[in-house]
Structure formats: structure tokens, C-alpha cells
């Protein structure tokens, strides 16, 4: 039984379409991220769930109830904003308790729930502070507690970590996920940061220009991208032009060098121009000759990136990036030397443009 359902959601403004045919079914307790670049429609979709935008067409259902036309203050969804949006004239405790005060709870109920929430975010000692006395990370945690205090059906987070320092971002996102799992609350998380989406989500919706590009688990999205956009946006990717040489066997040529792909290209004809993509970390040096693709290459450049060493190679006439884990005892080849690299045929992707 789905908990949150978006069906054929369409949103257009006077001169452009923000969201086109968005369909999603979310299970109770699931953490789904909307991932994409600025302007892809992810925030607009989230705001439609919150009620701050009305879909041009389509329906939004929570627990079987159609909420599409219900005003935002009656939906019982909790929202966390990018800019925290804590009420500056109220203390932390008053902020967290505000939704309960509106709902008419008694003072003792409110106090108990506020204490519970502050304990959840480990900020019990800050109850009497004002927002301007808190750091960004602290403010965001209070905003989270405030959204959760009303026991919402769904939790919505709109790029909650974008305004914070890198270190805080990592620790806070772990905390958010832990709280979410503990409470088992259905959550939608909007972000443009693929690392956040990959590390936090049960499923990811990758969006571009108002459309859903792909929906899947982080593993699926990363390893089996279905479109060029997804493959490019999530993780890094080598993409080169190639020519089909044998559609049945999955053979193609890149400047004369032969590649085998596991992707089904039987519908293509010999001589077709296509593009292939390979993730840098799928290449390795050819100790293990059992791999499908064994390719001659010349080492062009070696860049030390910390935990990863990025090696630029030329295969045929095309440049490829190859990533390998750093190892102090690794003997790296010299620039200009000729080597052999391998990758499996599953690693060679032929994607929809």
C-alpha cells in the first residue's frame, strides 16, 4: 500500500513548463531523493506536495486521501527549508512547539513533545535560546525538530544542507537519516548533491528540465544509468564516439580499437554512429586477461587526488580517464609508456541521449 502517490503531476507557468508528467509511488517509511541540477523541477515538485504550488494537472495522495487541493496549512506534512526559516521572535522551544500550539494542544502536551524532540536532536540545553544565537547547523536541526513535532505524515526537506559548511553537511546528513529511520517517517529530500542522494536514499529520482530521467536505488542509478544525463550527472563518465561493427555480437570500434559491450545493440546496423560511456573506475591494468576488453593505450597524464589516482590514457585516438585506488606501494606507469588496460563488457554502456 503506497503512502504517498504523485500521479501525472504537471506544472506549467505562463512561459515554461516546470514539471512534466511526474509519477511516483512512495512506501511508508521510504526515503526518496529528488536529484538534479538547478531548474530541473525538483523543488517545484516538492512544494506541490507541501501545498505551496498547485499542480496544473495531476493528483497528490497521502494515505489514500487526495490532497491536491487541500490548503498547505491543513496537510500535516512537515517541511524543512534551505534557509532554516526559524521564527526569529521565538525561542528554540517556542519554535519547535509552534505547530502544536496552533493545533490547540495543552501546555503540558506541548512541553512534553518539545522536550522529546529536543532530545532527539540532542539540543535539550538550547531550549531558551533564540535563533540568532545558534549556528547554521544548530538552526537546521531545530528546524527539523519543529517539522517532526507535529507528527507529520510525510517529511519534506528542500536542500536543507546547501547553506552549511562541508564538514557540518556530512555529519548532519547522517543524523537526519538516522532520525528518519528511527521514526520510520516517509521522507522526500531535494538536493543537487549526488553524494548526499546516493548516501541517504532508499531510492533516487533523477530529474532534468522538468522530467523524470530515472527512478531507482542508488546502486541502480549509479551502475545502470539509463540515459546519458543520468550517467553524466551521477558519478563521472568517459564518453566517446564509436561505430557499430557487429550488432549481433555487440562489437564496436573507437578509432579502429575494438570494444565489446554487453548492452543490446541488435537493433542497430553496422556502420551506425553511436556513443559509448565507461566509468573511470571500471578500467584496470591488464593483469587479469580474462576480461572481455583488453585495450592498448598510452599513458598521458597522472593526477594524484588523494584516495584516488586519476590516470589519463589514450586508447586509439580517444582520451579516457581511469581511476584507481591509491596504494603507497603501487607502481604507477611512466608518462608516455604503452600499457594495456581492461574492462568488462558490462562496463561499456550505450546510453539513450
Amino acid at each position: 500500500m503506497s503512502h504517498l502517490e504523485l500521479t501525472h503531476i504537471h506544472k506549467s507557468f505562463t512561459n515554461f513548463v516546470a514539471v512534466e508528467d511526474f509519477n511516483l509511488t512512495v512506501k511508508q517509511g521510504e526515503f526518496v531523493s529528488f536529484l538534479g541540477p538547478s531548474g530541473c523541477g525538483k523543488t517545484t515538485t516538492l512544494r506541490m506536495v507541501a501545498g505551496f504550488e498547485i499542480p496544473t494537472s495531476g493528483t497528490i495522495t497521502i494515505n489514500g486521501k487526495d490532497l491536491t487541493n487541500v490548503p498547505p496549512n491543513k496537510r500535516n506534512v512537515g517541511m524543512v527549508f534551505q534557509s532554516y526559516a526559524l521564527f526569529p521572535n521565538m525561542t528554540v522551544a517556542q519554535n519547535v512547539g509552534y505547530g502544536l500550539k496552533i493545533a490547540g494542544n495543552s501546555k503540558s502536551e506541548i512541553d512534553a513533545r518539545v522536550d522529546e524532540m529536543l532530545a532527539l536532536i540532542q539540543m535539550g540545553k538550547f531550549a531558551a535560546r533564540y535563533p540568532y544565537q545558534l549556528s547554521g547547523g544548530q538552526q537546521q536541526r531545530v528546524a527539523l525538530a519543529r517539522a517532526l513535532a507535529i507528527r507529520p505524515e510525510v517529511l519534506l526537506l528542500d536542500e536543507p544542507l546547501s547553506a552549511l559548511d562541508a564538514k557540518i553537511r556530512v555529519s548532519l546528513r547522517t543524523e537526519i537519516r538516522a532520525i528518519q529511520q528511527k521514526l520510520g517517517i516517509t521522507t522526500i529530500y531535494v538536493t543537487h548533491d549526488q553524494e548526499e542522494a546516493l548516501s541517504l536514499s532508499d531510492r533516487i529520482v533523477v530529474m532534468s528540465q522538468g522530467r523524470m530521467e530515472q527512478v531507482g536505488t542508488p546502486f541502480e542509478i549509479y551502475n545502470f544509468p539509463q540515459t546519458q544525463f543520468v550517467a553524466n550527472f551521477v558519478g563521472s563518465l568517459n564518453t566517446v564516439k564509436a561505430e557499430v561493427s557487429d550488432p549481433e555480437k555487440g562489437l564496436l570500434h573507437v578509432n579502429g580499437v575494438q570494444f565489446i559491450t554487453a548492452t543490446d545493440i541488435k537493433s542497430r546496423k553496422k556502420g551506425d554512429a553511436i556513443r559509448i560511456s565507461v566509468r573511470p573506475e571500471r578500467f584496470s591494468f591488464a593483469e587479469d586477461r580474462k576480461k572481455d576488453n583488453v585495450l592498448d593505450c598510452t599513458i598521458e597524464n597522472i593526477t594524484f587526488l588523494g584516495s584516488v589516482v586519476r590516470i589519463q590514457v589514450t586508447i586509439g585516438n580517444s582520451r579516457f580517464n581511469m581511476d584507481t585506488f591509491n596504494n603507497p606501494f603501487l607502481e604507477l606507469p611512466k608518462i608516455g609508456s604503452k600499457e594495456q588496460v581492461t574492462c568488462s563488457k558490462e562496463a561499456v554502456l550505450v546510453l539513450d541521449e
Binding site: G51, F52, V77, F81, F87, N89, Y98, A103, P131
Partner: protein
Amino acid sequence: MSQESATPQRKAWREHPLWNWVGLLPFFLFIFIFLILPSLNLFTGAFTDQEGKFTLENLNILSNPFTLKSYIVSLQVSAITALVGGLFGFFVAYSITHGGAPRWMRTLISTFSGLAANFGGVPLAFSFIATLGQLGFVTVFLKGICFTGADGAEVCPFNPYDHGFTLYSMWGIVLAYTYFQFPLMILTITPALEGLRKEWREAATNMGATPFQYWRDVALPVLMPSILGAMLLLFGNAFGAYATARALTGGSIYLVPIAIGQQIRGDVLGNPNEGYALAFGMVIVMSVAIVAYTLLQRQASRWTRS
């Protein structure tokens, strides 16, 4: 700098931070001669008697019934116009920021607020005489609303002068002052209204609040320091105004600036030092207003920081 082996001591003195303040000397000198000095002179005069000795007797003028009356009237006028102008200005400012007034209305009001806040003094008095005087435009218009009464005679009940209103009164001054007070309020409070973040309203709505609850619990509390501060500004503005009252009532309505004006001419009291005490009292009132205003501004900016 390492080349200067000749006079290192002199160079060091040149680099001393205090030396930089010398650049501001012309400015400070001007301010001192034409603002600080006269004011200090006035204040020492307030505490000096005819022979030049220190005294507190001049302060007695403040308990003089005429003086007291002038302070009361001034405070009344200032408070009323601050309140009326403040509320009116606030509602208008709200209408042109969040209230959803049509675009043409917004631009017109913004532009005119900038103009009208500067319309004061003598022309303003003349305008109001021309509008609400005995023969004024509005007066004539109201006088002309007539019906035939029960007995066949003409009844024109809307002549304000028949009902005891006169422009040449405290209320006339209030009406005239409001003309520049409420635009000043609009100009002052609009930035604060625009500083109300959209997310606060959305967060409140998200928690179940109606627009009324949002205003009651978040928006008005956050705006209150700015509103009070702006009203204090209006208060001070009215308290110190002279020209409009002078041109409108010729000095018959006894305000503190008018009283001081008479002192300068040597009209009333034989002891000029008492006039200085009056002026000193006025400065005290203004200082209190400004200090309160500054404190409120600080509170307002503290809350909307981050």
C-alpha cells in the same frame, strides 16, 4: 619603507593611527564651530543666570503654566500624528508590499511617498488652507452637499465649520502634519516589511497556522521594533517642526518650537536664559526619542540577522 634610514622616528609617528584622524579635521572643525559650539552655548545658558553664575532657576520656566501647556500640546500633536501617521502609513506600506495592491498603485504610492515626505513647511500650510480653510476646496465641496429639508428649506449639514471644526487649531495642525508623517512611515517601514522572509510565512502555514495566526505570532512580533522605532522617528519629526505650524496658525497654537521662536524674538519673558532652558528641554525630549529609536533598531536587526 626599509629605505628610510634617515628619520625612522618621524616616520613612525606619521604611521600612528591617530594621525589618520587629522584628515577628518576640516569636517570636525566645521561641525564644532557651527553645531557643537552653538548647542553647548545654549545649554550652558540654560544653567546660567543674568550675571553669568551657575543656577538651576531657569529650569523653573518648565513649570510655568504657559510652557507646560506648550509641552503638553506639542507632545499631544507629536504623539497623535505619530500614531495616526504610523498606523495609516503601516497599512498602506503593507498594501503595497505583501498586500497585493495593483502594480500601478504600488508605483504611484512609492513615488509619491518620496515626494510627500519632503513636502512640509509653508507650502503645506497654504495647501491645507486652500483645501480645508473657510473657503477651501473640500470645505466648499462639503458645504455644497445639500438636500431640501422637511420644511422645504435647504439643509447643508456637512459644513465642518458649522460643527466646530477649524483648521486653525491643534486638529488642523494634526491633519497637516499627517500629510508628511504617513509617507515618512511608508518609506521607513517598507524595508522592514520586505525583510519579512517568505519562508517564515510558509513555515508557519506548514505548521497549520492561518494567515491571522501567522501575523499574530510571527510577523507582527518581528516587525514591532521597527514599527515602534519608525513611530518614534515620526514623533521626533513632528515635535521639532516649526514652519507649518507658524504658517498655518501664526503662532496662536502654542507649541514648543513656537514658544522658543517667541523667546528668540524676545517677545515674552525678560530673561533669555529661560528660553535656553526651553530649548534644552526640547533637546532632552528629542534625545530620548533617538536613543529609544536606536535601541529598537538594534533589536530589529538582531532578530533578522543570520
